[in-house]
Symmetry: C2
Subunit: 272 residues, 2 copies
Amino acid sequence: MNRPPEPTLPLSDRGLAYGDGLFETVLVRDGTPLLWSEHLARLLKGCRVLDLPPPRTEALASALAGAGPGLGVLKLVYTRGSGGRGYAPPASASPRLEAVWSSFAPDQQRWAAGVRVRRCRLRLARQPVLAGIKHLARLENVLARAEWRDPAIAEGLLEDDRGQLVEATAMNVFFLARGAEQVSTPSLDQCGVAGTLRAALLEQGAVVEAPLLADELSSCEAVWLGNSVQGVWPVARLDDSEGQPQHGWELNDVHRAFQRRAHRLLGYAGAD
Amino acid sequence: MNRPPEPTLPLSDRGLAYGDGLFETVLVRDGTPLLWSEHLARLLKGCRVLDLPPPRTEALASALAGAGPGLGVLKLVYTRGSGGRGYAPPASASPRLEAVWSSFAPDQQRWAAGVRVRRCRLRLARQPVLAGIKHLARLENVLARAEWRDPAIAEGLLEDDRGQLVEATAMNVFFLARGAEQVSTPSLDQCGVAGTLRAALLEQGAVVEAPLLADELSSCEAVWLGNSVQGVWPVARLDDSEGQPQHGWELNDVHRAFQRRAHRLLGYAGAD
């Protein structure tokens, strides 16, 4: 492999100094990005929120062209660049767009058998201005993900300070409430990252936004985690934040049907 | 000037990727850091919160030795380094410590005449786990500071989602409530950065922690902003978040006495 050297950024870059920037992790198959319009839409929404000029189309095309063969993940990092006085952004920003590609294989075992997840102790703070966008200031996600090291735990569920379910540390949450007809996902108007797989499923009408208290997870018919890189993991077991078993689900046709629908968006096979 | 080249960090550094790190901006006079024990205490507290190994004493000494002559600011950036899987920190981190020095002169006009400040529209989210430490995920401060460009406005005041006064975008707030005997500063157990000048003043008993609704600022006898680099600015005029005048203060002996006391900690002269 003739891998290009890793890009570097100066210490003065505001992405490093303050988390002043955005990122996207894009699944790319044989050079073709999946859910690209959703990734681009989120990136542009982030630019509006942060008042950043959008990246140039040619720069994005050039970044995408750096994807390797087969299945991989292209991570795009878009920062405000250097400059400004302290927190004050420069009047005219010179943003930096960097990209790094890595080959990737989804965890088909997790597709098939489902995953064990735990509730995190950390509660997400509610900051509606930043909710939904994929900015670089993700220290809450890091702290939440650091709550466990057991590799048998695939993800951690995050709730806000009111106990409302929000997301997993790096995935969105989908659930079928008892007696409900449609798969739901929490609205992310207070905190959380609005994933691109979630956006595409909402767009298709495959899921709707609905609130759920984290305490009510056990009463759901089915729970899934999903993102545009990993696909969809059915949740087979839920632990509480102390690691004690809280609930289990037998995977069934409902689980598989939703997974198949989501996987079609990513060109992934089902798990059955 | 034979200035060393600016340090660079790889794109994979977690400080850039997630805001997973800490920083300090230290006033240095002729090679001697001011309030160093307070800076070190905050840095070590941040390491405990983020579960980072503390920087090695020799590395810190070497960074301090890089300070130039006269008065300047040494910015230390301490990140978790590269590695880990996504948000999951590496089991054994290899943190990076970088330092950059710049010469500095405080704004004596602001010391003397006081400053005009405005209330920010952005409300700080409450995240008690991260409150007080100077982590790299400071996007709220950037967005708040971006609310105005008029150089006549020296700072913006931030409140939380309950309307409690917290801080300014890059300084702590001190106030003398009507009829009060002691200067107060908001407790920072929900959000905000606990400045080192604030810490030293608390330690001396020169200020106490007390809550204040931002709506009650106008009723205060005196309000000041301060940090360990700029010193203390008396607030002479308060604008609301639309830029409309809300209140004004005549600077008096009370203002000067508190400013002198704080400035002694930084080796700064008073302004009178």
